[in-house]
Symmetry: C2
Subunit: 341 residues, 2 copies
């Protein structure tokens, strides 16, 4: 449950040093970035690893990437387990590749902080694209309790962006919070549902309608697909976000991703949404909001790291014991904790 | 997307003042707590509202509750949308009431920060218990992007605990992060799955196995229930948490909550887990860990509030624009943001 040391306290060794301390080979960040921009997959992978592992050169990587970012179109893809996100991602990648576009995929794996590991499913399905130099695929473990997507994913996205991806797909399991995060990360958010995964009210309960720019009813060959579409339409009619003149009305598409049916139509809606983002000014607003969130998240993580130094200490344990015993309340305990920073 | 002003900066007006500023009626916290402890439902509801709305008397409420907490057994109940959480909660409440126990229910509603509202489903089903003085039911909106459950729920839980509930059920939609939160909140976490909601690998992908103390396959009269149980067993056999002598092996129960089938067995497992918590020392460890997390969350929220003051300001907007333009990177921007605190 510990978090990696990250944020403002991270030291940046000089790029000229031939070897880092502790005998690790020093990282030549400018060279790595140059090679990633030339399309070298290994350099891209290495940069993402540096980001994901909160390497000491994290800040140097971020600074080196900055001038080369902003070109990629970011598509978020989310939905409950079992709706077919990985299959849909695979189908979208195929279609985008046929159109000659360079594609990055970040599969944000929600496997637990306890086990840390990703399961086989995604990786196996993704093998389809192994060896295609126009596709970068990366499965990311979501780190720890707080932060989740907020942390490494935006930086990994910057790596793929700087590496010249035209489109980056960010796939995440999620209802609730991670969805909100993906919506704040993506230019366009696709929300997948499947027949039998819950009716429209369930979908609305999970908060998915508000974040969806395009709704995809996958496995549309199954019983109940019509019902699901109807429920989503009804729930949409109750919702408030997409009202007013010029507002975007999230379309509802049907797909059978395993057979690549309906995928072209989804991409048409994505492009229509992209035009709307540009014309309405909403695209620029989202990108500025995304950057603001990222700055905030990094600032918060820096502060959290300072609390983390206290965490596990005898002081916090003693405060926790007092709260359990009813001798103090958590607010007063928090005051005392902050006083120690 | 703004968060309520909370945390260390909240002012506490003197309890003697007959009227608060802005003409609101002053809250007599000690009287409210006394009435809540006498079982007055309206006092309980009012206290939870004070907590949920981050009232200026929040800290006073927390201090007044502290000496009366620690008695309630906290059951977390989680699972994807559509697995039947509300129905299961209702069935559990009925069974616990038949056993003469006082029950609190916190239905943490994940409806979006955009709409803020809870949908009808839960509330309707919960009407069953309306008028039973031994049951407090509260649907809570999850607030904002960061925090989620972390914020108001532990405090609401303290209210129900101090009000003399023997058992508090905390129901939340969730895969991923909110599950981790519920696990850190509850003494015993029930994870619900349903046939057709995804196989064992999907369940494991969503990280549900690691947080489950008791696994419940609901809608067990449906096709595929055997398969689901088998998949869960297999996924369990791969997992690492529950190993070693004396470790808790999460049982897998089948229920048809809508017909109250299997509910008694679930409660037997819950009681067995409770004994294990006591005997192993894990219960005390969890409670201390929970208190530590709560203290941390409050401390972090206090720090976040200070960042929030900067947020929306011209300074953060300018930093975000620079990041979008590639003129700086988010780490350097975060440094500058923190320098302004």
């Amino acid at each position: 449950m510990t978090e990696s040391p990250q944020g403002t306290a991270v030291a940046t060794p000089g790029p000229a040093a031939p070897r880092g301390r502790r005998g690790r080979r020093a990282v030549d960040v400018p060279d790595l970035v140059a090679r990633a921009r030339d399309g070298e997959a290994r350099a891209v992978a290495r940069l993402i690893s540096l980001v994901e592992d909160a390497s000491p050169v994290l800040r140097e990587v971020a600074a080196a990437l900055a001038p080369h970012t902003g070109g990629a179109q970011v598509l978020g893809l989310t939905g409950s387990p079992g709706v077919g996100k990985s299959t849909t991602t695979t189908a979208l990648v195929r279609a985008l590749r046929r159109a000659g576009r360079r594609v990055g995929v970040l599969a944000v794996d929600p496997s637990s902080p306890f086990s840390g590991g990703a399961l086989l499913g995604d990786r196996v399905r993704m093998q389809d694209h192994a060896g295609d130099p126009g596709v970068y695929i990366r499965s990311m473990a979501s780190r720890g309790h707080l932060g989740g997507l907020a942390w490494a994913t935006p930086q990994a996205l910057r790596v793929l962006d700087a590496a010249g991806c035209d489109v980056v797909l960010v796939e995440t399991v999620g209802v609730g919070q991670s969805e909100l995060e993906i919506a704040s990360l993506a230019d366009t958010t696709l929300v997948l549902v499947a027949p039998g995964m819950g009716d429209g009210i369930q979908a609305a309960k999970a908060g998915i309608l508000e974040v969806a720019d395009v709704l995809v009813v996958n496995k549309a060959d199954r019983d109940g697909a019509d019902r699901t579409v109807r429920d989503l339409r009804y729930a949409q009619s109750l919702g408030g976000r997409h009202t007013g003149p010029g507002a975007w009305q999230p379309p509802i598409c049907r797909t059978v991703a395993a057979r690549e049916e309906g995928i072209a139509r989804v991409l048409e809606h994505v492009q229509a949404h992209r035009r709307w983002l540009a014309d309405s000014g909403e695209g620029a607003r989202r990108r500025a909001e995304r950057a603001a969130r990222e700055i905030e998240a990094i600032a918060l993580a820096g502060l959290r790291a300072r609390i983390g130094d206290v965490r596990g200490s005898a002081a916090l344990a003693a405060l926790a014991d007092q709260v359990v015993a009813g001798e103090t309340d958590p607010y007063r305990a928090a005051d005392r904790l902050l006083a120690q920073l």
